[in-house]
């Protein structure tokens, strides 16, 4: 069965001043999948997501979304990327601490004009994360780390994204919270949203992902189905503690 490609990297290179973060990266994200990007600190995982959202311009290569070469304009008109149906939950969650949970969610729906859709999405977010509803009028900054991650994901879902980019959602969270969040990522994916999940926690990520991409110091070293990666001795040694 041929799968439709939603997003593709074609020979993408990216650098910050003199530091090259991505070298000649090529991969495809099939529509409807959860694809996890794995790699050690500084491997270039976050840079991949920034290349998609246009937060950093590419040095070379192309990022294609639904066959459109969005990297041609995305770094100059970054705010238009969200309008394509791409929601990026950044490293460190990026919630607005002085704004209430409600206001954070409202901003997630910035591009959504239909009040009915907004109301429906808000209900969905509160259904997925009942804790956010309890704290609706509290400032985002008063939330615990796990709740902030829920808010960040919830805010992204307010845009009804087709492609959800998650940058290390498990970072610094207790195991139960991580399980809860990963379960919800699976649910969101089951409802039709393609997910790119950047993780250092390879074991967990590969359990929910369909496919994994492994980066090492800016280079792509492996792309394979998640179940193969889980059994790959090299991966087991490097990322899964080889137990």
């Amino acid at each position: 069965m041929m799968q439709e490609t939603l997003l593709a990297f074609e020979k993408v290179s990216l650098s910050y001043g003199g530091i090259q973060a991505l070298r000649n990266i090529t991969f495809q994200i099939p529509k409807g999948e959860i694809v996890t990007i794995l790699g050690a600190n500084g491997a270039g995982k976050t840079s991949c997501l920034r290349a998609i959202s246009g937060l950093v311009p590419l040095k070379a290569g192309t990022v294609r979304y639904k066959n459109e070469a969005i990297s041609a304009w995305s770094s100059k008109k970054t705010h238009l990327v969200a309008g394509l149906g791409i929601a990026h939950v950044p490293e460190g969650r990026g919630i607005f601490p002085e704004l209430s949970i409600d206001e954070n969610l409202d901003l997630g729906a910035w591009l959504q004009k239909d009040p009915q859709v907004i109301a429906k999405n808000r209900e969905r977010v509160f259904h997925l994360f009942p804790r956010l509803k309890e704290r609706q009028f509290q400032a985002g900054g008063t939330l615990s780390g796990g709740e902030q991650q829920m808010l960040a994901i919830g805010r992204a879902l307010m845009a009804s994204p087709e492609l959800l980019l998650l940058d290390e959602p498990s970072l610094g969270l207790a195991p139960q919270i991580i399980h809860l969040i990963f379960k919800i990522v699976q649910e969101v994916n089951a409802s039709g949203t393609t997910v790119v999940l950047v993780e250092q926690n390879a074991h967990l990520a590969l359990q929910i992902a369909h496919r994994g991409i492994v980066l090492e110091t800016g280079e792509l070293t492996l792309v394979d189905e998640a179940k193969n990666l889980l059994n790959n001795p090299k991966i087991r040694e490097a990322y899964l503690g080889n137990s």
Binding site: L55, T78, P90, F96, L107, G108
Partner: protein, 300 residues
């Protein structure tokens, strides 16, 4: 006691005007983390627009409250456009440049306005037209409130309520607060950050222009450098209240206005202008984040 309350009332009316200017400093700082040194000059330009508009409408001979509102609105809108252009032409191209470059540019823009105004309007002081009849005074328990003070209080309170509404009740206001926290995250949500920055400059400039009109009416004398001292004091008020904090700027400005009035009345009148500088030094030494400021480290 009545006398003391009288000074407080007079001080508050000064403070209210400082507050209108201070809001622009603090909002721009909140969103771009830089001090827009040209802001005081927008205040001056706002006053001059009021001068020309008031005379053109013949209000000096026929003062009217509606005429006043027309002049006020005209000045606020025009100054808002000028504020937009300053940001668009001078600051936006430097968005990714080091902050010091932007600061130096702001000083340049300020000098441009100050000398431009001297060429355009003349260096000699001009008498501001009477827009409304403010000859009457009211008494509340022995405390005298001039019509002019009443105008100042009414206009500032209305404008602050309007700003409060925009910031806390509208989508654009939420976006302004979001952008002042993190540009990149705002971009990821689809918020047009540059447009939000433009709106911030427009709002801040319009408020400063309103202050310009009120100052023009209160001390009917305009000069091209009038924005320097007012701008400076409003800036100190904003720092005192916690730069970046909107409500803090208002409180800081009111305290500043009242303190000045008390110094003039009970202390040494010649120290009036020195007070702002003394306050700035004390705040910077003992509480750099101001009364209500977040720790600045968070932003850096």
């Amino acid at each position: 006691m009545t006398e003391f309350i009288q000074h407080i009332v007079n001080g508050l009316s000064f403070g209210a005007i400082y507050a209108l200017i201070a809001l622009g400093y603090t909002m721009v700082y909140g969103i771009l983390q830089f001090i827009n040194f040209a802001h005081g000059d927008i205040f001056m330009i706002g006053a001059y627009i009021g001068y020309y508009a008031g005379n053109a409408l013949g209000l000096n001979d026929h003062p009217s409250i509606w005429g006043f509102f027309v002049v006020l609105l005209l000045s606020m809108v025009t100054s808002g456009v000028i504020g937009f252009l300053v940001e668009f032409l001078a600051y936006r191209p430097l968005r990714k440049a080091p902050r010091i470059n932007v600061l130096i540019t702001a000083v340049g823009v300020s000098l441009f306005f100050e000398f431009g105004a001297q060429m355009l309007f003349g260096a000699n002081p001009k008498a501001f037209p009477h827009l409304v009849d403010v000859s009457k005074s009211f008494y509340i328990g022995g405390v005298q409130i001039d019509s002019m003070e009443l105008v100042v209080f009414t206009v500032t309170i209305l404008l602050m309520l309007a700003l409060e509404f925009v910031l806390y009740r509208t989508k654009v206001g939420k976006a302004m607060r979001a952008v002042s926290h993190d540009h990149n995250v705002a971009l990821l949500l689809g918020i047009p950050v540059n447009m939000i920055i433009s709106i911030t400059f427009v709002l801040g400039s319009a408020m400063a222009a309103a202050a310009g009109i009120l100052v023009g009416m209160s001390y009917p004398k305009l000069e091209p450098l009038m924005g320097v001292m007012f701008g400076l004091k409003a800036f100190v008020a904003a720092v005192f209240g916690g730069i970046g904090n909107v409500r803090g700027a208002v409180v800081g400005a009111l305290i500043m206005g009242v303190s000045e009035q008390l110094i003039v009345s009970y202390g040494v009148p010649t120290f009036r202008d020195a007070f702002a500088f003394a306050l700035l030094i004390v705040v910077l030494i003992f509480r750099p984040k101001g009364l209500f400021g977040k720790t600045l480290a968070e932003k850096v």
